[in-house]
C-alpha cells in the first residue's frame, strides 16, 4: 500500500490561475514532510520541510501547509517558469539512524502563458 499519494497526477494551469497540489500520507508518527521541485532530467530541488500539523511555510508564489493526514502546496498566480514536477516525500518514524525519504509519484504542473 502506498504511504504517500499525490494528486492530481498532472495539472495544467493558465498563467495567474492559482491552485493547490495535494499530498496525502498514511503513516503515523511522521517526522517530517518534504516538498521538492524536479525539472526534467534534474535532481529534486528542496522547497520546504514541515514537521507538525498546522505548520505553514511560504516561498515566493508557493505556500505549503500540513495537517495530520495531508499536505497542500498552494501556488498563487503561477508563471510558466513554475512548470515542473512537484514531489512530496515523508520521513518515517524514527528507527535508529534511519532517515530515508519515501516519495510520492509527483505532480506534473504545466503553466501556459
Amino acid at each position: 500500500e502506498d504511504q504517500v499519494t499525490q494528486s492530481p497526477e498532472a495539472l495544467r494551469l493558465q498563467e495567474g490561475e492559482s491552485s493547490s497540489l495535494n499530498c496525502s500520507y498514511t503513516v503515523s508518527g511522521l517526522r517530517g514532510l518534504f516538498w521538492y521541485r524536479q525539472d526534467p532530467g534534474k535532481g529534486p530541488e528542496f522547497l520546504f520541510t514541515l514537521y507538525s500539523a498546522g505548520e505553514e511555510k511560504e516561498k515566493e508564489r508557493l505556500k505549503a501547509t500540513l495537517t495530520k493526514k495531508e499536505s497542500f502546496l498552494h501556488i498563487t498566480a503561477p508563471k510558466p517558469e513554475d512548470s515542473a514536477t512537484y514531489l512530496c516525500a515523508v520521513l518515517l518514524p524514527y528507527t535508529g539512524a534511519n532517515s530515508k525519504l519515501t516519495f510520492g509519484k509527483g505532480i506534473t504542473l504545466s503553466v501556459r502563458p
Binding site: 517530517g32 521538492y36 534534474k42 535532481g43 529534486p44 528542496f46 514531489l87 530515508k100 525519504l101
Partner: protein, 113 residues
C-alpha cells in the same frame, strides 16, 4: 549555496560491466544517501550511510551494489555487474542531522545497453 555534486552526469555501459558513480556531499553533512528513479517512476531509496557504515538499505540494494566513502569527501556507489534494469537516474543526497538540509545532487543518468 552549498550543493551536492555528482559525476558523471551521464554514463553508458554494457551489460555485465562494473560502474562507479561518484558524489561529493555537502562538506559538513554527516548522513549520505543514494536514491534512484527509473524513467517515469517514483524516486526510490537505495541506501543510507552514517558513521562510515550502512545504516539502512532497501531490497533493491542487493549484493551487486556497494557504497564507500574512500577519502572523507567522496561518496561512491558501485554496481558490480550491471543489468538492463539498472538503467535509471541515480541521485546522491546528504543531510546534516538526518533531517535538516536534506539536499539532492543533479543525478547520474545510467544507461545499460
Amino acid at each position: 549555496e552549498p550543493e551536492v555534486t555528482q559525476t558523471p552526469s551521464h554514463q553508458v555501459t554494457q551489460m555485465g560491466q562494473e560502474v562507479i558513480l561518484r558524489c561529493v556531499p555537502i562538506s559538513n553533512h554527516l548522513y549520505f544517501y543514494w536514491y534512484r528513479q527509473i524513467l517515469g517512476q517514483k524516486v526510490e531509496f537505495l541506501v543510507s550511510f552514517y558513521n562510515n557504515e550502512i545504516s539502512e538499505k532497501s531490497e533493491i540494494f542487493d549484493d551487486q551494489f556497494s557504497v564507500e566513502r574512500p577519502d572523507g569527501s567522496n561518496f561512491t556507489l558501485k554496481i558490480r555487474s550491471t543489468k538492463l534494469e539498472d538503467s535509471a537516474m541515480y541521485f546522491c543526497a546528504s543531510s546534516g542531522s538526518g533531517i535538516y538540509g536534506y539536499t539532492f545532487g543533479s543525478g547520474t543518468r545510467l544507461t545499460v545497453v
